[in-house]
């Protein structure tokens, strides 16, 4: 079951006359050139919450943008709506991690609860619009729902009413506009660090930060509250670290605002007992006033040197994430104090471009965006081109559901990524560059914007960088939510103000890219590694990893492991070490079944092959690809056919629709998988699926279509028996709703927990009696099975 399309007409409101003054203002800001179309649409969408036709027509009157262009572009990107939305937009994340943790059930629960009109996506009263998004990049909080700016993690289907109530309560209290203070303290001495990466913010870290600042002020403590980037332990957000000079840092995980006072008081004793008593009283009153009827995440505190977390951080190597948790993302001086821009100084001062390319080549750096193309070769290709104008592009259109390392790098180390981009521009001889960042990452956009401004002010960007002849102008382009724009030719089309449709390569962008000029397109992580390579020399980098795959790779480890988050490991580490040592294995009583690597373009590697080392060639041999680094762990309750179906549903939805194999082929593959998951598949369908998958793989025009069949082909290869079972109408993992029924066995003690949580009221609330599921009412949401502590709910 899927949610309604986001662009369905909203029945609740008649179109009011549109005030067009904003359009003129937006055009003044973005210009009238055809390539301004996407930024203009972004601004219109932000202003009106949708794209009123009058506004679009006005744009065509005032600019060089034609009606055909604006219609083509605005209907290509899912970001843009053509119909008004409700007052609040509920975004249900359907990223991989959220999917395996039950996002579909949350969506269904929302659909039921909101009582949306047939085919519509907005409630009758116009309060809520429901939409599905591919990934909010908060995979460790899965399943995640975002209502406007508020993120709710670990949502169960039966938690939906409370979540909506909580949100409306927040709105009533006017808490939505509450922002952390902008004055960021930079004092020496004790520091209280609060993570402000997206996961932490999603976990509520801004509130915690406000609480910490309030407490520090109130208690008169001499400590700085410092926002820091992602620490990587995203499964335990929000994270607070207390650093006292000469002491080991203390880390608190899953901190709630009300804990702030306790934390501060524990490390910094307030002056005088009277004050303490008064504070306790205030705090008690605060608790009463704050009516926290429902806490979105449970909380506990944990020490970093505690065995489990130590292991989580221990065997990793931090190159791209070198400064994890230590620098303020936007404090340039802090960055400079941590060897920031040393690499740029070295490159500009001591090296000619050939030498930089040489260093990158010797280091053996390969593109981290997925395909693993040697970075030096690409750079050299652009460098040698004698064209007058060249461009560099940082590809931050990280669209894989279940991957968020680019977001983390952009948010936490904006200066680091920009340093890499500046070095790249210097090396290839470009004087203009772009950062293409998903609009779903507003924090990343905001930080990169601020970082560019800071660098311009300090002479690291702009004219005559660091006193040399080298000049570089950088700008940001926000994506429109199309996965296919991660493909470099699609990305360039999008930058040029066209539909983000990939084209046939050759010619490669290095030859004919943006506006026909030689263009270097590199992934965020690749660029983040460049300063490290330049600073430490190629040999230090090449010393890590395997023969053909050097250095480290950042992964977002999600799914059924006990611990999840961002990790950076040397190439060549086995899957088993990541899952067991870093991720802490799968949950109690479950068995590790497979790991999905590389997102929708990657494949599923079964537990038997867990000793496969992670490098480009080994993964390819196993049928997967490195991809951009999503790593989703699955256990015995995950159905591999369902996983394949999930990924294919994603790629077919994200297909640009240009070439036959991808547009229709992926759709027909999905039809077969749908039939398998609902018990309607026919004899011969598996053969048809496999042959079609191979045709789509070899015949599609761009990387999206060529890799889309990978999840299907690998699961067919390693889990063929599960497909056979589905053909017979069985789902061995008990996941495919149409093929299963839930029942309750003798272990039931009659605790009524399942009955209380059942969203379909299919279980009668009879204490101390063995519960019975009314199959007619059962929604097969699995809530009872998740919640039962006695293993009494079984799949039949």
């Amino acid at each position: 079951m899927s949610l309604p399309q986001p662009n369905f007409p909203c029945p609740c409101r008649e179109a009011a006359p549109v005030d067009l003054a904003a359009v003129d203002e937006i055009i003044r800001e973005h210009g009238t050139a055809p390539q301004a179309v996407v930024p203009i649409l972004q601004a219109l969408q932000k202003h009106y919450n949708y794209l009123p036709q009058e506004a679009l027509q006005r744009v065509c009157e005032l600019t060089e943008i034609t009606p055909a262009q604006i219609m083509g572009v605005s209907t290509f990107y899912p970001r843009f709506r053509h119909q008004p939305a409700g007052k609040h937009v509920i975004s249900v994340c359907h990223g991989t991690a959220c999917h395996v943790k039950g996002a579909e059930r949350v969506s269904e629960a929302l659909l039921r609860h909101l009582k949306l009109p047939e085919g519509g996506d907005t409630t009758e009263d116009g309060v809520f619009t429901l939409q599905r998004v591919d990934c909010l990049g908060c995979c460790t909080l899965a399943p995640v729902v975002q209502i406007d700016g508020v993120t709710y993690g670990h949502i169960a289907p039966d938690g939906v009413p409370q979540m909506l109530q909580d949100f409306l309560e927040l709105e009533r209290r006017g808490a939505l506009s509450r922002q952390a203070s902008d004055a960021e303290t930079a004092e020496e001495g004790p520091e209280i660090r609060i993570g402000v990466g997206s996961c932490c913010i999603a976990g509520g870290s801004l509130d915690v930060r406000v609480a910490l600042e309030d407490t520090v002020r109130e208690l008169g403590v001499a400590a700085a509250v410092k926002p820091v980037g992602c620490v990587g332990m995203c499964h335990q957000t929000p994270l607070v670290e207390v650093h006292l000079p000469g002491c080991e840092p203390a880390i608190y995980a899953r901190v709630q605002p009300e804990d702030a006072a306790d934390i501060v008081r524990r490390h910094f004793a307030p002056k005088g007992i009277v004050r303490k008593a008064r504070l306790s009283l205030n705090r008690a009153l605060d608790c009463l006033l704050t009516d926290e009827a429902w806490a979105p995440v449970s909380r506990y505190s944990v020490d970093v040197r505690d065995g489990a977390v130590g292991e989580f951080l221990g065997p990793q190597k931090h190159l791209a994430t070198e400064l994890y948790g230590t620098v303020d993302p936007l404090d340039l001086d802090d960055y400079l104090a941590h060897e920031g821009f040393m690499a740029l100084r070295k490159a500009l001062g001591e090296m000619v471009p050939e030498q930089v390319v040489g260093a990158i080549r010797e280091a053996g750096l390969r593109g981290r965006g997925g395909a693993g193309f040697p970075t030096a070769t690409k750079w050299e290709f652009v460098r040698q081109n004698e064209a007058e104008t060249k461009y560099v592009i940082c590809n931050g259109d990280e669209g894989d559901p279940g991957a968020f390392m680019d977001r983390m790098l952009l948010e936490s180390y904006p200066f680091r990524v920009l340093e890499g981009l500046i070095i790249a521009a210097y090396t290839v001889g470009a004087s203009e560059g772009f950062l293409y960042i998903r609009h779903e990452y507003p924090l990343a956009v905001q930080r990169i914007e601020a970082a560019i401004a800071a660098l311009m002010a300090r002479g690291f960007l702009g004219d005559n960088i660091l006193g040399t002849d080298f000049c570089l102008k950088l700008s940001i382009m926000q994506g429109g939510g199309a996965f296919v724009c991660g493909e470099e030719t699609g990305l360039i089309a999008s930058l040029e103000g066209r539909r983000g449709m990939p084209r046939l390569r050759p010619p490669f962008p290095a030859e004919q890219g943006l506006w026909g000029q030689p263009t270097l397109v590199n992934n965020v992580e690749t660029l983040a590694l460049v300063p490290w390579v330049v600073r430490h020399g190629p040999h230090a980098f090449a010393g890590l990893g395997t023969d053909a795959s050097k250095g480290t790779k950042v992964f977002s480890l999600t799914g059924k492991t006990r611990r999840g988050g961002l990790i950076e490991v040397p190439m060549g580490v086995t899957i088993r070490r990541i899952v067991e040592e870093i991720g802490g294995g799968v949950g109690e009583g479950r068995t590790f079944k497979a790991v999905q690597i590389g997102g929708p373009s990657g494949g599923c590697i079964p537990a038997e092959l867990a000793d496969t080392p992670i490098d480009y060639e080994s993964l390819q041999a196993a049928g997967a690809i490195m991809g951009s680094g999503g790593l989703v762990v699955m256990d015995d309750r995950d159905c591999m056919v369902d996983v394949a179906r999930y990924f294919l549903e994603f790629t077919q939805r994200e297909s640009c629709g240009k070439c036959t194999f991808c547009r229709i082929g992926t759709r027909r593959m999905l039809d077969i998988l749908d039939a398998l998951c609902t018990g309607q598949a026919k004899h011969g369908d598996l053969e048809k699926l496999e042959s079609l998958a191979r045709q789509v793989k070899q015949g599609s025009l761009c990387g999206l279509g060529q890799t889309a069949p990978n999840p299907v082909l690998t699961t067919l290869r390693y889990f063929g028996e599960e497909y056979e079972a589905h053909l017979e109408g069985r789902c061995p993992a008990g996941k495919c709703k149409a093929l299963i029924a839930y029942g309750i066995n003798d272990k039931c003690i009659g605790c009524t927990k399942c009955a209380q949580h059942c969203p379909g009221e299919a279980i009668a609330l009879k204490p101390y009696e063995r519960h019975i599921i009314d199959q007619r009412k059962c929604l097969r949401c699995g809530t009872c099975r998740e919640i039962c502590r006695h293993d009494a709910v079984v799949v039949e």
Binding site: L56, G657, C659, F661, D671
Partner: protein, 532 residues
């Protein structure tokens, strides 16, 4: 000049040429749909894929530049299979009938929609010619046919089927009383003599078809009157006068008749170059090679089809060729349409709003009041002489108009046709390549789009279900600098060209309409035909 090989054949091409250009130089045919001279490559249909240098991937030949030393595979099994798959995938998302269901269910293969268009336009003589090319005896067949076509008619879902058999009969009746009846040109004599034994529908049709090839044809009827099984039809259904008159139209083509001609296959075969044997035969008899025996089906249109088929076989035999495979034109079948889709169809076809007329009771049997039958037996029906064996070839103007015929008033029945046939069955590139690659059009059938028809443009018609999203029309509209033009609306599986702001097609394509329709590889965008 890059040198390359395609399927082992070497070729040198100018710099900038594509693999497709190189293949064309070598005479290697590569299918294309989205390729058009003068347009930049769309690389969307991917039916032109080839394999280059043994790569694991296939590339579109229309946009891949030929390079020095390239080794291209074009007609290997894998490449052909990929092209076939691409075509099959396109058919999996292509909603439309190549040929209308009525035509496909008609055993004689009559192009019924065109017949109805001509009738609706009042172009009766053309309608007669169209029908008689397939069914030489429409006044008879229209009266007695079981009319499979009407069971196939999509209009039946909406209210009631078009009364096709009645209208066919009207066509036949019109010709019977026309001052200059339809008479196809007979080519110069081939010198071949053919005997047709038996004069039922099979024999008469075979005789007509063979005579049209220029052969000398003699009908040998063992009985006393021509008509075979037709003679058994009750007068109420098939009046004898109609039968006689329409048979006469066949003979008017210059066919000799021998009545009461006792014949043995071997004996006849000795005198003729070929024999069509439609009379009952002893099963034991071994027939000479030139004797073609045909059974008489008890279905009128099927009998016509048998007559036509045996004529084709004989023509091939006389040319010394192998017997031709029964030709079945390539077509796809549109799924059963939903009520609102049918409504859209009927709303767009202005005439289709006409309510059904009760034709069966009136026109089908009573439209024609035949003159009394003379009853004389042994007579040459061509010139009324008593020596049919030696009768000279008939005179062109010997046809007589049966008296008492009043054509039925124009009923509007033909206008009710939903015209579900394709407007471009013969120029559609998708159909052409589908036939050449023997595709199974339903192999990747799945959820199908809605039937939509846009007839707002004076010059062209847009049928979105047939669009394969090749992109040519969008590109051409841009080149013509249309004020509105066309844009791809949406993305992925559901992407379709559309006019911005939901304006009409006429607003969108003010200058480029003709070229867009010409470029369209299917009939999604088609020029309005002379009959539309």
């Amino acid at each position: 000049m890059p040198n390359l090989t395609i399927d082992g054949q070497a070729v040198a091409v100018p710099v900038g040429a594509t693999i497709l250009d190189a293949a064309r130089l070598l005479g290697i045919e590569i299918p294309t749909l989205c390729h058009r001279a003068g347009c930049r490559p769309e690389t969307s249909c991917l039916v032109c894929v080839v394999r280059v240098n043994g790569s694991g991937r296939l590339v579109p030949s229309c946009a891949t530049p030929a390079a020095e030393g390239m080794v291209v595979e074009s007609e290997t099994d894998e490449v052909l299979e990929a092209r076939r798959t691409a075509l099959e995938l396109l058919f999996g998302d292509h909603l439309g009938d190549c040929l209308a269901p009525c035509q496909m269910t008609c055993p004689a293969g009559l192009n019924i929609p065109d017949m109805l268009r001509l009738l609706d336009a009042g172009r009766m003589t053309e309608a007669v010619a169209l029908v008689k090319r397939r069914i030489p005896l429409p006044a008879i067949v229209g009266r007695i046919c079981a009319a499979n076509c009407e069971r196939g008619c999509r209009r039946a879902q909406l209210d009631s089927a078009i009364q096709i058999a009645c209208l066919e009969q009207q066509v036949g009746d019109y010709d019977l009383q026309a001052e200059t009846p339809y008479r196809p040109l007979v080519p110069p004599a081939t010198g071949m003599r053919i005997a047709v034994v038996g004069s039922g529908l099979v024999g008469l049709t075979a005789a007509w078809m063979l005579r049209r090839e220029g052969h000398v044809v003699t009908i040998m009827e063992p009985g006393e009157r021509l008509g075979g099984e037709l003679l058994a039809m009750p007068e109420g259904q098939l009046p004898a006068a109609v039968r006689e008159a329409e048979i006469q139209r066949v003979l008017d083509l210059g066919i000799e008749v021998r009545l009461q001609a006792a014949a043995e296959p071997d004996a006849v075969a000795q005198q003729y170059d070929a024999v069509v044997w439609t009379s009952p035969l002893d099963e034991q008899v071994t027939l000479a090679e030139k004797v073609f025996a045909v059974a008489t089906p008890d279905h009128a249109a099927r009998a016509v089809a048998s007559g036509r088929e045996v004529a084709r076989e004989i023509s091939a035999h006389l040319r010394g060729e192998a017997s031709p495979e029964p030709h079945r034109p390539f077509t796809v079948h549109m799924r059963r349409l939903e009520a609102e889709e049918l409504q859209c169809m009927s709303d767009c076809r202005a005439g289709a709003r006409t309510p059904p007329q009760p034709l069966s009771a009136t026109a089908r049997t009573a439209g024609y009041k035949p003159p009394p039958y003379s009853g004389e037996a042994v007579r040459c029906l061509e010139c009324d002489c008593t020596e049919p064996d030696t009768c000279a070839p008939p005179q062109p103007d010997s046809a007589t108009t049966p008296a008492g015929y009043e054509p039925p008033p124009y009923s509007g029945e033909a206008a009710r046709c939903l015209k579900c046939d394709c407007t471009e069955p013969d120029t559609c590139a998708l159909r052409r390549w589908a036939a050449a690659y023997a595709v199974q059009p339903r192999r990747f059938a799945g959820h199908e789009r809605k039937f939509e028809l846009n007839e707002t443009h004076p010059l062209i018609v847009f049928e979105a279900g047939k669009c394969i999203a090749c992109g040519l029309c969008v590109q051409i509209a841009e080149r013509y600098c249309e004020p509105l033009g066309l844009a791809f609306i949406g993305r992925g599986f559901t992407v379709r060209p559309g006019v911005p702001w939901d304006e009409t097609l006429a607003e969108g394509l003010q200058r480029a309409a003709r070229e867009c329709a010409e470029a369209c590889p299917t009939a999604a965008l088609s020029l309005r035909g002379p009959l539309q």
